[in-house]
């Protein structure tokens, strides 16, 4: 075990996989940093420090710094993957799927199906997502709800450095296109990480981080920590929460969720995406359909409101799910009728 930050878990996993497999190639904007400048390549790393040192080690063929052209980045990743490589592309901000969605949605995600199961597209697209930095409406968004809905993609949302390691390795070795969502506000989170260079966490296996038995709380990414905090507070008051970290939203571990709800009969999902057609709705619908008889209260979502993400500190805090809102939802389901 080593202790490292979430961002370093990203970097070290990429580094290890590039050492292990010469087909792994990375590409993105400023991921080398300093190209074409007086300071020269690697004068400065990528803005998230998740690619520092790769260029020096693996060279320009495998570490490709790109112009600001997200469609071309994702398209190139698609072409690399169809041609036998394992590209790991970085979208600097998840919000930039806006300028590159076609290559994700209509190309990568559908190749295998459209081509009758005869091609492989083992591409990983990493993107920094989430609010908390007052970066406003175009640099703070969650996009898993959009991408989870797209058949052909796998969607991963790690909540800890160890999960980054295990899930990113799985993503890079996976033969399907994988969206790997890194929460900006977790980059500096520290945690224990296994040293095993084959440590992998399989997709579609959620993690029960608290076992309580009275209410099921499901989340992922940054908000998982809030759910755990609420669970710990309530535990002290004798209320037991099952807290489930989804880890991947596609594939979805329905079983872990439904098993818990069958016991608790009470379901709260906490998600950072807007409320309409989101992951919160997706899971409430799942539970309502498949755990109907177990439910003792209406399934609840804690999400931001149906608004863009505001800038000012006070507004962003009011916008985001909070421990207060989560606790209130838990109490709503506990006190139902």
């Amino acid at each position: 075990m080593s202790t490292m930050m979430y961002r370093d878990a990203v970097l070290s996993t990429i580094m290890e996989e590039m050492e292990r497999d010469s087909d792994v190639v990375v590409l993105g904007e400023d991921i080398v940093g300093g190209m074409g400048t007086p300071g020269g390549p690697e004068a400065i790393g990528g803005i998230w420090s998740t690619s520092t040192g790769l260029f020096g080690k693996f060279g320009a063929e495998r570490v490709i710094d790109t112009p600001i052209s997200e469609s071309a980045i994702i398209g190139a990743a698609a072409g690399l993957a169809l041609s036998g490589k394992r590209p790991v592309a970085e979208l600097m901000f998840a919000d930039f799927i806006g300028v590159s969605l076609d290559q994700i949605w209509n190309q990568m995600a559908k190749f295998r199906y459209m081509f009758g199961g005869k091609t492989r597209c083992p591409a990983v697209i990493r993107m920094a997502y989430g609010a908390g930095y007052n970066a406003a409406a175009q640099h703070s968004q969650s996009v898993h709800q959009i991408l989870t809905g797209m058949p052909g993609l796998k969607v991963v949302m790690p909540s800890t450095p160890a999960d980054v390691k295990g899930l990113l390795r799985t993503a890079i070795r996976d033969d399907d296109p994988v969206i790997f969502l890194e929460h900006k506000a977790l980059y500096a989170m520290s945690g224990e990480v296994p040293d095993d260079r084959d440590f992998m966490i399989p997709f579609g296996h959620a993690r029960l981080t608290r076992a309580g038995g009275d209410v099921t709380l499901v989340s992922s990414g940054l908000l998982l920590g809030l759910c755990e905090a609420v669970a710990d507070t309530l535990a002290a008051q004798g209320i037991g929460c099952d807290v489930i970290d989804l880890r991947t939203t596609s594939p979805l571990d329905e079983e872990t969720i439904l098993d818990s709800v069958e016991t608790t009969g009470r379901f709260v999902v906490v998600d950072e995406a807007p409320p309409r057609c989101g992951l919160g709705a997706d899971l409430c619908a799942l539970v309502a359909e498949k755990a109907f008889s177990s439910l003792k209260a209406p399934p609840q979502q804690v999400t931001p409101p149906h608004t863009p993400i505001p800038f000012a500190r006070e507004l962003e805090s009011a916008y985001l799910p909070s421990v207060e809102k989560i606790e209130a939802a838990v109490r709503r389901v506990l006190n139902w009728r």
Partner: protein, 327 residues
């Protein structure tokens, strides 16, 4: 011309097979048996074949919505393609893709594409893959993005050209200027007094221009282009002036054409007629040689249609497979 008789026959046959494939689809589509949107490549055969005759399976191409010609030229199986267009589960894509999504990665054919302009970045990726692999004895494997005169206005095409230049990727942008994007003229939509190739030059790559209805012009131009790109000279562009003999899609009334345009281009700009004239006047092949190849091509298509018509249909369960490799 440095062609052997066999090479000439092979090239002619490929063009003729594409021609007959499309002419036959044009007829069959009227019967309603074929589903979906189909865009025929008739008229442009010299481009696909003149380009692809230079390529091996390790060279990759990315195609467009008008992809049958590129697929056939790159070696996709005629029968499997026809079955795909018929929607059979024995089709090249098991009936899941259809006309606009034919692909065969084993042949270096990375897909027709229903999204105009989407192919160019994918081709750059394929070229970057070959940059990782490095040159073999014949230089670098290359990747080709086929694009129309309409596709050249899509932002993705520009981004791809710039990225290719920046990364010095062995990528060739082949622009097939058939003067129309759907019902709109190239003169209107490409907002420059100059041609498409000039735009590519402005992105910093070498560009060539040639008559796309002349197989030999295409072939010889591509020889130069490929020498440049395989040798590590970076990306390149070629603009071929060509003609589309049918409507944009099947059913298009083509009122945007000049009254005599279709008969004129069939008469003066048919790459097969031109090929025949060149090789017979040069005494390389005789009319009867070519007539025999014509018959063979027609037979090939006849057999493919018969097989496609008889091929097994997909079952409802087939909907669910091939989404993921594992899930």
């Amino acid at each position: 011309m440095q062609f052997s008789r066999d090479a000439l026959k092979a090239a002619y046959t490929r063009m003729k097979v594409i021609r007959e494939f499309e002419e036959r689809l044009h007829v069959e589509i009227q019967t309603g048996e074929i589903a979906g949107f189909t865009h025929l490549y008739c008229g442009q055969e010299a481009v696909a074949v003149g380009v692809c005759e230079h390529l091996g399976a390790q060279d990759r191409i990315v195609s467009t919505h008008r992809g049958h010609g590129h697929c056939l030229a790159k070696g996709c199986d005629v029968d499997a393609m026809m079955k795909e267009i018929w929607g059979s589960r024995e089709g090249l894509c098991k009936g899941k893709g259809g006309s606009m999504h034919i692909a065969d990665a084993t042949k270096g054919m990375l897909g027709a594409n229903g999204i105009v302009g989407a192919g160019a970045p994918i081709a750059v990726g394929a070229a970057l893959a070959s940059r990782v692999d490095g040159p073999g004895p014949d230089g670098l494997n290359i990747a080709i993005a086929f694009s129309g005169d309409g596709a050249c206005n899509q932002g993705t095409t520009f981004e791809a050209m710039n990225l290719a230049v920046v990364t010095h990727a062995p990528c060739i942008f082949v622009f097939e200027n058939n003067h129309y994007s759907e019902h709109t003229g190239f003169q209107y939509a490409v907002g420059t007094a100059r041609d498409i190739a000039s735009r590519a030059e402005a992105f910093g790559m070498k560009a060539w221009r040639a008559d796309g209805t002349d197989f030999f012009a295409v072939y010889e131009t591509m020889r130069e282009v490929l020498a440049h790109v395989r040798g590590g000279g970076g990306p390149a562009a070629v603009e071929f002036d060509t003609e589309r003999f049918f409507g944009h899609f099947e059913g298009d009334p083509q009122r945007y054409r000049a009254p005599d345009e279709l008969s004129r281009i069939r008469a003066t700009r048919d790459c097969l007629t031109k090929f025949r004239a060149s090789v017979t006047s040069a005494g390389l092949l005789s009319d009867s040689d070519l007539d025999a190849l014509d018959t063979e091509a027609l037979d090939t298509i006849e057999r493919a249609v018969t097989a496609a018509r008889a091929a097994p249909r997909p079952t409802p369960e087939d909907v669910l497979s091939d989404v993921y490799i594992s899930y």
